[in-house]
């Protein structure tokens, strides 16, 4: 099971700012190890964030996104206490879903 994400969602003036830290090696598939062998690609390809079941962001990523990725975005219409759910899926089919309450 992949390591948990750190999700922070803070509402101010009707806008909720969501900041997510994901634990993932984000291996692009372009690097070689000390022996000269290519390290296989393993990176998050899709991210979906939802609020009350409605998508508030969808992202498609390449291996050029940094290791332990950071993502920040803003949306309207959430109230304090609402849940924001984030799910990532990687090119190997692994995924992780976490949620946080809007503060």
């Amino acid at each position: 099971m992949a390591d948990p994400m750190r999700i922070r969602a803070a509402e101010a003036g009707g806008v909720t700012t969501v900041r997510v830290l994901m634990s993932h090696p984000m291996e692009s598939g372009l690097r070689k190890d000390a022996a000269g062998n290519t390290i296989p690609a393993q990176y998050i390809t899709d991210v979906v964030a939802t609020h009350n079941g409605k998508p508030v962001l969808q992202a498609t990523w390449s291996g050029a996104v940094s290791q332990n990725p950071f993502l920040s975005f803003k949306f309207k219409g959430a109230a304090k206490g609402d849940k924001v759910v984030v799910k990532w899926t990687d090119n190997k089919g692994e995924s992780r879903t976490d949620e946080a309450a809007v503060s």
Binding site: V48, Q58, T60, S62, V65, S72, K74
Partner: protein, 152 residues
């Protein structure tokens, strides 16, 4: 094993796009198209073509990235669009082996303002390309990448 091209196409749209598809937010065509279009492009021009053509530079689009990055492995990059009806945002790193780094679908109610961190192999132009009212607009900025050295 031989996979038909239709099956490959369908497979491409698994994941997040499938969710949006099932929720009726995007059409099957959009799901397929937006799936991984452009991510394999090896030059900036090819990537832009895959996104839909050459975008028009527009001052309402801002690319946020540092002038100098101490390390190319983690460079904070963000894009903000003040254009109404911005539905998609793309981040491109010109000198990367595959310039298209990330794409974001902005549903109604979400601000066209996203930030993430990207890898850059060398000093390069960083671009934000947005789709607003079906047309493409962009902003670009140079980020110098240094190699820090031994300390820190």
């Amino acid at each position: 094993m031989h996979i038909s091209s239709t099956r490959r196409t369908v497979l491409k749209s698994t994941g997040a796009m499938a969710t949006l598809l099932s929720l009726g937010i995007v059409t099957a065509e959009q799901a397929h198209a937006a799936g991984r279009a452009g991510f394999d492009a090896k030059t900036l021009d090819e990537a832009l073509k895959a996104l839909g053509g050459t975008p028009a530079t527009n001052a309402q689009v801002t690319i946020v990235s540092p002038d100098i990055a101490e390390n190319g492995a983690v460079v904070p990059v963000g894009a903000v669009s003040k254009l109404p009806n911005t539905t998609e945002i793309y981040l491109l790193v010109e000198k990367n082996p595959t310039p298209l780094a990330a794409g974001f679908v902005i549903p109604a109610g979400t601000e066209p303002d996203v930030q993430t961190r990207l890898k850059m192999g060398q000093s390069t132009n960083v671009l934000a390309v947005v789709k607003a009212d079906g047309k493409l607009y962009s902003a670009s900025k140079e980020t110098k990448v240094t190699l820090g050295g031994c300390g820190g």
